[in-house]
């Protein structure tokens, strides 16, 4: 089946016209994000993140493996993400589409290459046993800005996950069942968040584009950074050219957004953890 038709001319003209007056279809301000809703599953490391109708499920598990000989002192983190046709009727099964490549690469850069998780702390016994942390991302529904939502779900899942406590005596490794000893969280270097900005001709940039805005935009710019003002990923691959000052202005906006989001995530994690303590022991 062919891809669904691109938005009609009246839709396009209306969106451009409205954005020129800084009006968005869902009533948001230009620099207002959809507030993410984080729900945690019964298991640790099971997070569903929803931004409007965009929903992404992230799940983390860990197992012990033998490390590859070239990196005997580091744990392994692998990210699996798949965009199935279930997310939107624009995605087809089979060959990885451009969107899927973009999503996989972005997750890889934001969550893995930015060193969010301390890989050395995942080493149990040098060259013998390390933790292999697997993060699986399912895009349940794509109603725009799936990349930000997936990155958020991924990082929260990593923060929510606890691995079993391990004890090493000589060459002997004892894994304590969660009922014996409380599992420990992953040691994290920092918490990067991803923000996507969309650009339109003759209109100010907007953050967190909805589906229609994303399709009609003249260009997208994604920034991943943590609350400590450290940029991890900046990605503007093509799209309409921007003056350099505008790019820098967006960095400042992203810095403020990251602080806000960091607070929200920490609060939700604490809230969830409070409700959980009783269960674990």
């Amino acid at each position: 089946m062919p891809r669904p038709p691109s938005p009609s001319i009246p839709e396009k003209e209306f969106v451009y016209g409205a954005l020129k007056q800084s009006l968005r279809l869902d009533g948001r301000a230009m620099l207002e994000m959809r507030t993410p809703t984080l729900s945690f599953g019964p298991e640790l490391g099971w997070v569903e993140c929803a931004m409007g109708k965009t929903r992404v499920l992230a799940q983390v598990d860990g197992k012990m493996v033998k490390p590859p000989p070239e990196r005997p002192l580091e744990g392994i983190i692998s990210i699996h993400s798949e965009l199935s046709p279930m997310a939107s009727n624009e995605y087809e099964p089979g060959r990885p589409t451009e969107e899927e490549v973009a999503l996989t690469r972005m997750l890889d850069k934001v969550l893995r290459r930015s060193d969010a998780v301390d890989k050395e702390s995942l080493c149990v016994l040098a060259g013998q046993r390390v933790w292999h942390i697997r993060l699986t991302i399912h895009v349940l529904s794509d109603a725009g800005n799936m990349v930000d939502c997936a990155c958020l779900a991924g990082i929260v899942a990593l923060k929510h996950f606890r691995r079993p406590e391990v004890e090493v005596e000589g060459d002997e490794i004892t894994v304590h069942h969660p009922s014996e000893r409380a599992p420990v969280p992953l040691s994290m270097h920092h918490t990067p968040f991803c923000f996507t900005f969309a650009f339109f001709p003759d209109a100010p940039p907007l953050v967190d584009p909805a589906r229609l805005e994303e399709t009609l935009s003249a260009g997208l710019l994604s920034v991943a950074l943590n609350a400590q003002k450290e940029l991890c990923v900046v990605q503007k691959a093509g799209g309409s050219p921007l003056p350099a000052e505008e790019v820098l202005a967006i960095m400042d906006i992203a810095v403020a957004k990251a602080r806000e989001l960091d607070r929200l995530v920490e609060a939700r994690l604490q809230e969830d953890w409070k409700g959980r303590v009783v269960e674990v022991r």
């Binding site: 490549v101 940029l231 991890c232 503007k236 050219p241 350099a244």
Partner: protein, 264 residues
């Protein structure tokens, strides 16, 4: 790494003897390659890429034809011998696919695709040698190849990499430096000084980013000058050859008239 190589020594020199803001040699070869409509071979230090452009021509992929503009199709291949470690990369490698997609989306707003509805412009990028700054080399070579193919562009696209070693910004990184310092790629359109592409994959503080970003935009202008010279050289050479040729055949009066009329 056991023996760490000094990225920037006390004298302000980098591992290959360059200073902070020095770019590596650029060699541009715009000689025609086979039957391609346009081609450019660009050597940037030890990084070498060859780009050939075919088109605008009849779209091969009927399903992807656009009714109002041309499709840009970028295919990238990396020679197995291009790196120190001989390694065959499959064409479906996500990194290569991503880079090809980045090149395509960089040029989509720059090429006047709306002049060629239902056509296709094929851009084949061959990486022959890599020593850092691969994406900028590909982008610069693609710009030149499109220019030689006579494809209308709004402007050149000039790309460069930049990195930060502790607090000192560096330009045009080699593989060695890319592995060690946070770095970014910036592509600018020199006339309007607008930025078409920025990518960064390593951790860097916002303030450092700002400094490096501005520097890289400036370096883009320097690269532009070189690219412009190369294109002008070629144009002059071709136009002169054509003039000499028509003088030789001056027996045709009507032929000369057509040419002369058009001139300012």
């Amino acid at each position: 790494m056991s023996s760490r190589i000094e990225i920037l020594n006390d004298g302000g020199y980098r591992s290959d003897g360059r200073k902070q803001y020095e770019l590596r040699d650029i060699t541009i070869d715009l000689t025609q390659q086979g039957t391609a409509d346009g081609s450019a071979q660009l050597t940037h230090g030890l990084t070498q890429v060859l780009v050939t452009v075919f088109g605008p021509r009849e779209a091969k992929m009927r399903s992807q034809t656009l009714h109002d503009r041309a499709v840009l199709n970028v295919e990238m291949s990396v020679a197995p011998f291009s790196t120190g470690e001989r390694r065959k990369r499959s064409r479906a490698d996500r990194r290569i696919l991503e880079m090809a997609a980045m090149i395509a989306s960089t040029f989509e707003p720059v090429v006047q695709t709306n002049l060629y509805p239902r056509s296709q412009i094929d851009i084949y990028v061959h990486v022959l040698q890599q020593d850092g700054s691969l994406l900028p080399a590909c982008i610069n070579a693609t710009t030149l190849a499109l220019v030689t193919a006579g494809v209308p562009l709004l402007d050149f696209v000039c790309a460069v990499t930049g990195g930060v070693h502790s607090t000192s910004p560096l330009l045009d990184l080699t593989t060695l430096e890319e592995n060690d310092v946070p770095h970014m790629t910036v592509a600018v359109m020199p006339r309007t000084r607008k930025v078409t592409l920025v990518t960064m994959e390593t951790r860097l503080h916002v303030e450092r980013f700002r400094e490096l970003f501005e520097l890289a935009c400036e370096a883009g202008q320097t690269i532009h000058r070189e690219m412009k010279y190369a294109v002008k050289d070629r144009t002059v050479a071709l136009v002169n050859a054509m003039d000499a040729g028509s003088k030789g055949g001056a027996a045709d009066d009507h032929d000369r008239d057509v040419v002369m009329d058009d001139r300012i």
